[in-house]
Subunit: 479 residues, 2 copies
């Protein structure tokens, strides 16, 4: 007799929990899960993203923020969204300091005269007309520079020789970018004449230096700052190793030149039930200028556009809007992302979930999420749909939303991080070698499958993911 | 009874052949073979060649023939031979047309404005000041250009898009260099405004265009000619594929500028018995200018110098002289090799054997030889010493002496060809990526072992290898 009541008790308890779930837990309806699986499978064999990234890298080429190609890039994005059939295409202005690269030359003057391959860093000052010649002082790390005697740095060209290594998650870029961003500022404060670093890049054998932004915020206090390719850094370090004074002439015609007004370009697939609610995905439209911005970030724009297009092409619009954002000037400080977040902070609750693709074109292998606890079940559902195409899910770590959308996440938007395989990303990142040939169409398609499936499921979910002003403020996500 | 006479007959015959052999066959004495084996084994663990190639690429850097670095390269070679203890160090003048590279820029003007990475080819004409803009006409091969309607080429920028692939023996360079050398001349004769090619290189994904010489011989009839990196060629071909007229602006400040007097730099380990007879080995001292000339041909100079140094460091000088030649201006037409051959043609019989190292720093895997039939036994002996370090011997093919020394072979010098593994050679050849980091010290040391062992054995041989005026004229060797 005890058996039956116990079973009944258990059954009632389960029913109670089930009811509570139904009321407060965000879930993706079974039909939407099935459709997402179909979207995923279709995307795996779809070439749209590759065609898009081929289009932007070929027809626009390098897209340095604020350059003449910036405007061409926007025109391209507007036209492409329209050609793909997006329901609504519009721009939102983004203003930022204009920084220009006009020319750059460098040579070792003594003891062994010879040219050096380098590239000026974003927000670097130019050298005086005719160039700047000074002695080199070498440090093996940013910490070594920080703890140096300032009298040994004053008037010198500071050279930090710290080497990045390849990793799937690319975590060494934390060190590399810290040298590139922080090093010039520290050197400038110590009175250095200029700053050089071994490129923050993992291509040990390629004469393609890696540019990227510094921590300078305007002409005041900025000094000339540039990156040497890895073989050039090898050469300079070898020459310093002879123990003789080494002097370098830098001739960098670069610098700030007023303010530029660009724009984020946005395409929407309008939701049929809640058009004001939506999922935000995207990439950034600008690129560094030595390459054609294929992996950084034509790929991201293409992945998001193609995911939106796949959802657009379904028989019915999704319940909520899919918003694809091609951000302006990510490279020099998330200008597009910050402008977007400022403009849309008050509507943060309308964003179901968001994330940006900005780590190349390698396969997504890991998903993490910052959502409210009641939405973990829906994330689990997304994870189950993505698992067959190689995406693991780590529920213990936050999601940050990617580069520009980290700013909306900072305002309280629930966010995923979709980690791509970045093993080779820092071989090409910010170099002349960031060109279309680095993209494998099959790997790119896997990204589209991930973005299309999760976006659709988030758009169809019963319930939200916890977006609210100030939510996720302490989730520890870093972008 | 018949047995004995027969045996006796055979014995006498063998004796007769043996006597004939002793009189006419060139052989390496057993003691010399043993010493060569010791030299070989010592060389395999010797770092001298790597130190030499590090020295020239670091202390001199790029060494374009006729540039200020040409003189510094000669001074370096003289000093290095002396520092290594060579018995005799001297120079022999080499004159050639001076060609200079000052600056080069290119951009697609229409339909998709963007910069192109290219490098002017040797003996290219410059464009008019301010640049040259013309429409592009694309061909898939040199043959397609040859058979084109000249009216379709006149006034256009001819672009030949032929792709090289990787091979161990690098034979696709035959096609690639034919396009580079012959293409500009053919295009010029057809009235083209300029000539572009997809680089004669196998690095499909690197923005490092490959320079190299054209078939122009002076300013008359020369047009601007340049190579696009492989990704730039991909881009241009993709843009041509849109079917719209494509125009390019070229701004190449390059060209002929009088005559330059350089020199071959020669170091000798003087033979103790026949100092006037010798073995000739070497490499070329000049390099193309975008890289530091590590694999082309700092490595060759280093291999030959290090082989000479190892023989120099033996308790006794070899019987004949080891002559190490660092040739001037190989790159723009074997100027050093031709001057050497002209000067020394009458003494060709004094050269036991010769060969130059000019195919990078990969291991030697094959030996071929052009020698008189009576010296095949000595070559067999050399082959036996080299076999344990991975060198095969193909007795059916001629030896050509390498790049510059092909000219002495043309005068009748017996010659080897020591084929290196060139699988990756054309990834870096004539590009900015020809830098020290491409050299594996262990593979370089294997080359030194080969050169030291064969040079010593040839210097100690009883008999010669057949060098004589006009010998080997029809051996079919190509260099």
């Amino acid at each position: 007799m005890r058996r039956l009541p116990l079973t009944l008790l258990a059954a009632s308890l389960m029913l109670a929990i089930g009811s509570a779930n139904a009321a407060t837990q965000t879930t993706v309806p079974a039909a939407a899960v099935k459709t997402a699986e179909q979207l995923r499978d279709k995307a795996m064999n779809d070439n749209t993203a590759y065609e898009i990234v081929s289009s932007v890298t070929t027809e626009v080429g390098p897209r340095l923020a604020g350059s003449p190609a910036d405007a061409r890039g926007r025109e391209w994005a507007i036209a492409k969204f329209k050609a793909l059939g997006f329901d609504k295409v519009y721009t939102e202005e983004v203003s930022y300091p204009l920084w220009e690269r006009r020319s750059e030359h460098a040579e070792i003057v003594a003891p062994f005269p010879q040219p050096l391959d380098l590239i000026a860093l974003g927000y670097s000052a130019g050298t005086p007309k005719g160039g700047l010649t000074a002695e080199v002082v070498k440090f093996d790390s940013l910490d070594a520079l920080k703890s140096a005697d300032p009298t040994k740095v004053k008037g010198k060209i500071v050279y930090v020789d710290a080497r990045m290594t390849r990793q799937k998650d690319g975590h060494d870029y934390g060190m590399g970018s810290a040298v590139r961003v922080g090093g010039p500022v520290i050197a400038a404060k110590m009175g250095a004449a200029a700053f050089l670093l071994r490129s923050a890049g993992t291509d040990a054998n390629s004469r393609t230096p890696h540019t990227g932004v510094t921590g300078f915020t305007g002409p005041d206090g900025a000094i000339p700052a540039a990156a040497l390719s890895n073989p050039d850094a090898d050469q300079l370090s070898r020459i310093v190793g002879y123990g003789k004074p080494v002097s370098i002439k830098l001739d960098l015609d670069v610098g700030f030149n007023g303010t530029y007004k660009g724009a984020n370009v946005i395409g929407e697939v309008t939701g049929k039930t809640h058009p004001d609610q939506g999922v935000a995905i995207g990439g950034h439209l600008d690129s560094w200028d030595p390459g054609t911005g294929a992996i950084d970030d034509g790929a991201g724009v293409a992945i998001a556009m193609a995911a939106g297009k796949l959802i657009h092409d379904m028989p019915q619009r999704p319940d909520r809007t899919i918003r694809v954002i091609a951000f302006a000037n990510e490279e020099m400080g998330l200008w597009g992302g910050k402008a977007y977040a400022e403009k849309h902070a008050k509507e943060v609750s309308k964003f179901q979930l968001g994330t940006e693709s900005d780590f190349g074109a390698g396969k997504v292998w890991l998903m993490t999420a910052s959502v409210k606890p009641e939405a973990r079940g829906a994330i689990d559902q997304i994870a189950k749909v993505l698992a067959p195409i190689g995406v693991a899910y780590d529920a213990s770590k936050p999601g940050g939303g990617g580069s520009d959308l980290s700013q909306m996440h900072g305002k309280g938007m629930a966010a995923l991080t979709l980690v791509q395989d970045g093993t080779n990303y820092f071989d090409y990142h910010h170099t002349a070698n960031d060109t279309l040939d680095k993209i494998d169409p099959k790997e790119l398609a896997q990204n589209v499958a991930v973005y299309a499936a999760f976006s659709y499921m988030a758009a169809q979910a019963d319930g939200d993911f916890g977006s609210a002003p100030g939510a996720f403020a302490n989730d520890g996500a870093e972008e």
